[in-house]
């Protein structure tokens, strides 16, 4: 019995779903960010599994670009979080309600 790339695809689907559940459930904005990172990593895993499945290195390059964009996204997102924390002294997403009607 050997590990087929489709096993990694199922694992990636599971990890992505856990990330989605975290974004929907958690209210601490930092943890929500971590869940977004988890989702990005799950997608990276499926990119790399497809790359192995098809014998094509383009999937790995695309996964590399996802990592770069994730790094940029984390930097800006955490900057926004710190700026919000200075104004509201809270990291809960429920406290950011200025646009609430």
């Amino acid at each position: 019995m050997k590990v087929a790339p489709s096993w990694y695809l199922v694992l990636s689907a599971l990890l992505f779903t856990i990330g989605v559940a975290g974004v929907l459930i958690r209210r601490n904005a930092i943890v929500v960010f971590m869940c977004v990172e988890l989702m990005l990593n799950a997608v990276n895993l499926s990119f790399i599994a497809f790359s192995k499945l098809n014998g094509d290195l383009n999937g790995q390059v695309l996964s590399f670009f996802v990592m770069v964009v994730a790094a940029a996204e984390v930097v800006v997102g955490l900057g926004i979080l710190v700026a919000i924390f200075r104004k509201r002294s809270s990291t809960s997403v429920d406290d950011v309600n200025l646009l609430k009607g």
Partner: protein, 186 residues
């Protein structure tokens, strides 16, 4: 062709496949459990540390899938830089043990559970109806035994415009973080 060497090559590949199976069977539950723990833990620092473990598991999976360069990048960029950034911000803002189980919007949890179950069912259904059942291709042969060189060649030929654009993106992100973090003096 020497039959002895063929037999030893066969034995070596099956040993490698057995090793891959053992590593996958151990690390796949670890990655899922750390992800679940990350979501359900009420202390954000523990969440961050569990996520680091998860990223290391993913790096091992990348090695198993013959993406050696990306495994190294995963450890350096994700487990190193990004998670340190997360922990820095946690340290800066202080930890508040929020009550994970308290709902602020009534009925949010059941709706979220239904949506998540639908998503998982949809993705798994798509995976099993589409025939993604190949055994995989030896990527080391595709890359002529040098994963880093092959990826570098792709990056600087076919994807060179996207690669230069990511440089611009990183500069914009750095400047943006600087502007956001700056305190305005009256």
């Amino acid at each position: 062709m020497n039959p002895v060497s063929t037999a030893s090559v066969l034995a070596a590949t099956t040993a490698a496949q057995r090793a891959e199976l053992i590593i996958f069977v151990i690390l796949a539950p670890v990655s899922v459990l750390t992800a679940l723990g990350m979501v359900l833990n009420r202390n954000a620092v523990y969440s961050a540390l569990l996520l680091v473990v998860n990223f290391f598991c993913l790096a091992v999976f990348y090695v198993l899938l013959q993406a050696q360069f990306l495994a190294v990048v995963q450890v350096i960029v994700y487990a190193g830089a990004i998670m340190v950034l997360f922990l820095f911000v946690l340290m800066l803002l202080g930890i508040s043990n929020e009550d994970v189980l308290k709902e602020t919007i009534r009925g949010q949890r059941p709706v979220a559970a239904v949506l998540v179950a639908l998503l998982l069912a949809g993705v798994v259904w798509a995976l099993f109806t589409k025939p993604f059942s190949g055994a995989g291709v030896d990527l080391n042969r595709v890359a002529n035994g040098d994963n880093v060189r092959a990826i570098g060649q792709l990056l600087f030929t076919r994807y060179v415009f996207a690669f230069e654009t990511t440089g611009l993106l990183l500069v914009v992100a750095a400047v943006g973080a600087l502007v956001l973090g700056k305190r305005r003096r009256p």
